[in-house]
Chain length 373, copies 2
């Protein structure tokens, strides 16, 4: 399974975040990216998905923008104008949604001072948002909003207090008698517990679906999956051990959440999902602990086989998703095989997206109505 | 009062974050700053308070570190070694506590990729922490922890949903019958609603004081004071209008918090405090709305006069603080005058700190036991 995951990861390194086909001309309707710092004009994006960057560094020798996952290998080389300002536009439109990036200035890696920062690739990076046709489902709207609660839970196994974020749906604090199902939702390698609510807008996706009556309210718990402890020279993902995170999740976090929030604590009201390496964690932990979760979901994070699920009648749903620019046949075929064997499995393919957050925002949106039925 | 505030702000620009007196030699016991990104060694700090920086930018022409508030005008100029790595150490020890900084590379302003980012001076900046003798009171300890709850509250007056953070003390979610007093706590100019819990560790200060029995639990609410909307060319702070924030706070946020959290809603269970420009806001709003708060606190943010408080018997406490490197006589004399006139006023001077967060962490620590008596 680990080998499978590594192969998948290598594949996505060669799938792009940018369509290489050139359009005839760049439309000059650039607007500031919604991921910019307050008051910052640049970077900008246009209606075709081109991104334009502006970096002030008058004495620099070279400024190059590198966008997510190596999809733009070589990057966007900026040119200096007469005032010492470096400007440049991507050579083609980018995929819709969120992309991590950084700027290489005279050989050093920095963030674009124009943008907010997002934890990816084990560092806080710049981010840019290409407006998507379906962006309404994760927009901030005038609807009742849930909270994102930062908790510090005791973790004797790691000898510290660890951080988790708990999404509580609108009305959670008003009706003190109501209890809720819980989705444990994991980020990918290089990310942390901030990813799903910040890059993923998981809270807004939930708020909007609840307001539209598309789902019954449930809680989401997000914590650090300890996925980044594979240090260079440490043997890579092959040497990743699930046990430390499994202990934190099952022995420390879930009991803490159940003791401090109004959760429904039976297996039928607990789901686990993860993106990319968080999918690998979900698969391993769900199968090793068959009495904890009844709903399993892997988002760009591999597949379950019939052998994995056989003999586990308590599994209510297997959800597997992928961007169309990844290797979508994997999740489609896996769901078919599970369906043929009589299991409730669903695959979802996000159109025209790769191994990036737009795939996972959409995956959450597709998955949420299927949980806790 | 506004003029007073501007004079005060100018003064602190010329107070330093760095003691200029040289010690005989730099002790080579440098350790990574606690504000670094995961796994990052640099910047480092030593036991004397010197900071050492390391920036990789092999082709750069110049790299200069600028530390908070202009205290190190000219900054720390880094030198390039044979491998193209820029290194440099401050020319003297820095004040204890947290300092914002940025790096100027070839004439452009960037963040140090080694550190986490903090919103100050209207941008996300680098931050460094000089260990303080009294750092225990804001340390993460093995005690019960409260939560920091992100809420999105409806704001018809600004036509959006606005963000606030609500600190709820340990046990808040367990005992559903208990209600709590609330402190509304404002950041300074250039900062936002993240400042008090991130740079200030307000939640950890509260957790520790509650665990030690030094205070009765109360809630803290932190939102954006709309202080940064004075754009260049917009006339500066003289043109700052309090009304938009006053409306958000009194007509929108307080009712939302009272409706959605278990608060005590009478004047005797409500306090307002703010640092620097947040103090100016606190003073203006508390005096214009005498029926809302019974506890007033200005942290490096000016003073109340006897005339301000006279005829307001409902005011239970006036707390005013300052760093010893600011202009501490102001708060000392103001408290004396209020005491002489029969009011309960307390001044606090933070030793050896300037207009920075160590002053305000300590101010919260000193103020908290005096609230809601």
């Amino acid at each position: 399974m680990k080998k499978h995951f590594i192969a998948l990861s290598l594949l996505v390194l060669f799938s792009g975040t940018m369509c290489l086909a050139q359009t005839s001309s760049v439309i000059e309707d650039f607007k500031p990216s919604t991921k910019n710092q307050p008051g910052q004009e640049y970077p900008m994006v246009n209606s075709q998905g081109y991104a334009r960057f502006r970096i002030v560094a008058p004495e620099a020798q070279s400024v190059v923008v590198s966008l997510g996952l190596g999809g733009q290998r070589g990057g966007t080389v900026l040119s200096k104008d007469a005032e010492g300002v470096w400007m440049g536009t991507t050579s083609g439109p980018m995929d819709e949604g969120f992309h991590y990036y950084h700027v290489t200035i005279d050989g050093g890696v920095f963030n674009d001072p124009g943008t907010l920062n997002y934890y990816g690739s084990t560092r806080w990076e710049s981010g840019i948002e290409i407006p998507a046709k379906d962006q309404d489902f994760y927009a901030l709207k005038d609807v009742p909003h849930g909270n994102v609660v930062q908790v510090l839970f005791p973790s004797p196994s790691t000898n510290t207090s660890r951080r988790a974020f708990v999404y509580t749906p609108p009305g959670y604090d008003r009706d003190q008698s109501k209890r809720y199902p819980v989705l444990y939702l994991q980020h990918g390698w290089g990310e942390d517990e901030t990813a799903w609510s910040t890059q993923g807008h998981a809270n807004l996706i939930m708020d909007n679906m609840i307001a539209e009556g598309k789902i019954e309210p449930f809680m989401i718990v997000m914590t650090y999956g300890m996925t980044n402890d594979i240090r260079p020279g440490g043997g890579g993902m092959r040497n990743f051990a699930i046990e430390p995170f499994e202990t934190v999740l099952l022995k420390e976090l879930i009991p803490y959440v159940d003791a401090n929030f109004r959760t429904l604590t039976d297996i039928n009201n607990r789901a686990m999902a993860g993106l990319s390496m968080g999918g690998m964690e979900t698969k391993t932990i769900s199968l090793r602990n068959p009495d904890v979760f009844a709903y399993y979901a892997l988002l760009s994070g591999g597949t379950y086989s019939v052998e994995d699920i056989q003999g586990k009648p308590q599994v209510k749903l297997v959800f597997m998703s992928s961007g169309s620019k990844e290797r979508p046949d994997g999740v489609i075929n896996a769901a078919k095989a599970l369906n043929d064997a009589g299991f409730n499995a669903v695959s979802y393919v996000s159109e025209d997206t790769a191994h990036e957050f737009q795939t996972w925002r959409r995956s959450l949106y597709q998955m949420a109505p299927l949980l806790f039925k």
